[in-house]
């Protein structure tokens, strides 16, 4: 079934009786060419591109719960490619370009909305750092605009420009950044993969690997053994847990990140605004709710909820930047588990076990990476060669001293 304006009108006139389930619910086959563990954004995108771009038809995605129940459905939906380092910038720009053509590509409305991402700066040193970042982006062919105080005021006159501690000195704007409807990303990729013959198997937890003579032969699951020539693991916050079943220790800690949404308000925010100095970032959803967040809670956690001190901290940051939001009521807060890597950058690589591949360490920034992560992981699984734009995301970079330390925090995942 293809979606179109015509189809919507036809259904409206006939009582919406023609809509069909968007993907099948197949039983697992005894074996597949490629099994992808994790039905989040990255796993589903991987399967989609495996089938569509790399011609792999015999593929399954195994998800322990329901697809989209993990971080892909919990994040604050911001996409951008305003990175600094050479290992990162081309990858995130590749992702941005995929976002720009995504809806036409998979014929599904993901509400990709490029309304701009504005990072505020509050000191001369921060402005210098943003100038450098903007220049690095422009050198990579990415859009970046450095704004002075008046430039910021034109876009967002409601900000607190008289904050004594963190006066707004300007900002770095990426006009092509923005937000995407996160659930629709999971659903669109799931539907696209399904249409290309991928089996999406929900309620199927991977409980172990069958490894013989250093070769992975398949996975043990709550629905029995499933054989596979190749297994790709993309389980976000559960990375350490799942890979431990293959006997691996990872350069990863799991941490909780919270997000918040206010009651629906009239259109207020022009785009995404980030306030690094106060640990606060905010956008407005199409339903009108202010969607915002701050830092991770800061200690290892597998609880998919946060703790109160961070809620207080984030709301204080919000109040100091936009005092008027003190009048809005908070509707919900929730948390997701992220696999914080030791340098804050992701990993897309094969492992020492033949036939076992790993995708993870996305920290709190992996949503924007979903299309590129899926594409590059599919490339690796199909061809056994790293994709050009993900070539730096090696598992052994810590051993070799080739970290991609975008935030300059070193091996301190709780600071990234």
């Amino acid at each position: 079934m293809r979606y179109s304006g015509f189809k919507v009108i036809a259904e409206a006139l006939t009582g919406h009786r023609g809509w069909k389930p968007v993907w099948r619910e197949p039983q697992p086959k005894p074996s597949y060419d490629i099994v992808v563990i994790g039905g989040g954004g990255h796993g589903l995108a991987t399967a989609y591109y495996l089938a569509k771009e790399f011609g792999e038809a015999n593929v399954a995605v195994l998800e322990k719960g329901w697809i989209g129940g993990g971080n892909v459905g919990r994040n604050t939906t911001i996409i951008r490619s305003n990175y600094l380092l050479p290992g990162n910038e081309p990858f995130y720009e590749f992702s941005m370009k995929l976002w720009e053509g995504l809806e036409q590509d998979f014929n599904y409305n993901a509400m990709v909305s490029q309304r701009g991402v504005l990072n505020l700066c509050h000191t001369d040193a921060q402005r210098d750092a943003f100038t450098r970042r903007g220049n690095a982006m422009r050198l990579h062919g990415v859009d970046a605009v450095l704004l002075d105080r008046d430039g910021v005021r034109k876009i967002a006159p409601f900000l607190n420009f008289d904050n004594a501690r963190f006066p707004i000195k300007g900002g770095l704007l990426q006009p092509r950044g923005g937000t995407v409807r996160h659930d629709a990303v999971a659903w669109g990729y799931a539907r696209g993969a399904d249409l290309h013959g991928v089996d999406i198997i929900q309620n199927c937890e991977v409980t172990g690997f069958r490894i013989e003579n250093g070769k992975c032969l398949g996975v043990e699951t709550t629905r029995g053994f499933i054989g596979a020539k190749k297994v790709g693991c993309a389980v976000a916050g559960a990375s350490s847990q799942v890979m431990a079943k293959a006997g691996m220790r990872l350069p990863i800690e799991s941490h909780v990140l919270q997000a918040f949404v206010s009651e629906g308000l009239k259109p207020l925010l022009p785009g995404v605004i980030t306030y690094g100095a106060g640990h606060f970032y905010v956008s407005q959803s199409d339903k009108g709710g202010l969607v915002f967040g701050g830092d991770i809670d800061g200690y290892n956690s597998y609880a998919q909820r946060g703790n109160l001190p961070v809620i207080e901290d984030v709301c204080e940051g919000g109040m100091s930047l936009m005092p008027m939001i003190g009048r809005a009521r908070l509707l919900r807060s929730w948390g997701g588990i992220m696999d914080m890597s030791m340098d804050g950058s992701p990993i897309i690589d094969r492992t020492d076990i033949q036939g076992l591949y790993f995708n993870g360490g996305w920290c709190y920034g992996g949503f924007k990476a979903t299309p590129a992560s899926g594409w590059c992981f599919a490339h690796l699984l199909a061809t056994d060669m790293p994709h050009l734009h993900a070539a730096a995301y090696r598992l052994d970079r810590f051993r070799k001293g080739l970290m991609i330390d975008e935030k300059g925090m070193g091996a301190q995942p709780n600071l990234h």
Binding site: R249, N300, S301, Y302, A303, Q412, N414
Partner: protein
């Protein structure tokens, strides 16, 4: 979260700074054979369990002592709090 400090009694976790896995106490000997590999593992690799986790907390806004806190990473329940100094000594370290 409330951390029951062995010397000061129950304190709000907000007074503390978190470092990570308590295995960081066991810094490898830089002169031992295989030190490069052991430092790589020490610095970067983690067990990262879902469940009981022994971890280091620094009482920055208090007596500036280091504590080893045993906490469940799924429920946030804290079952024991020890002075990191005592833990290090019990493993034969001088300080």
């Amino acid at each position: 979260m409330i951390i029951n400090h062995p010397l000061l009694g129950p304190r709000d976790a907000q007074e503390f700074v978190y470092l990570g896995d308590a295995a960081l106490i066991d810094r490898p000997d830089w002169q031992a054979s295989g030190a490069v590999d052991r430092f790589y593992e020490y610095l970067y690799l983690r067990d990262n369990p879902a469940g009981m986790h022994r971890e280091l907390w620094f009482h920055e806004q208090g007596d500036r002592s280091w504590l080893v806190v045993t906490r469940n990473t799924v429920t946030h329940e804290i079952t024991s709090v020890e002075l990191a100094r005592d833990v290090a000594r019990s493993r034969g370290r001088g300080k």
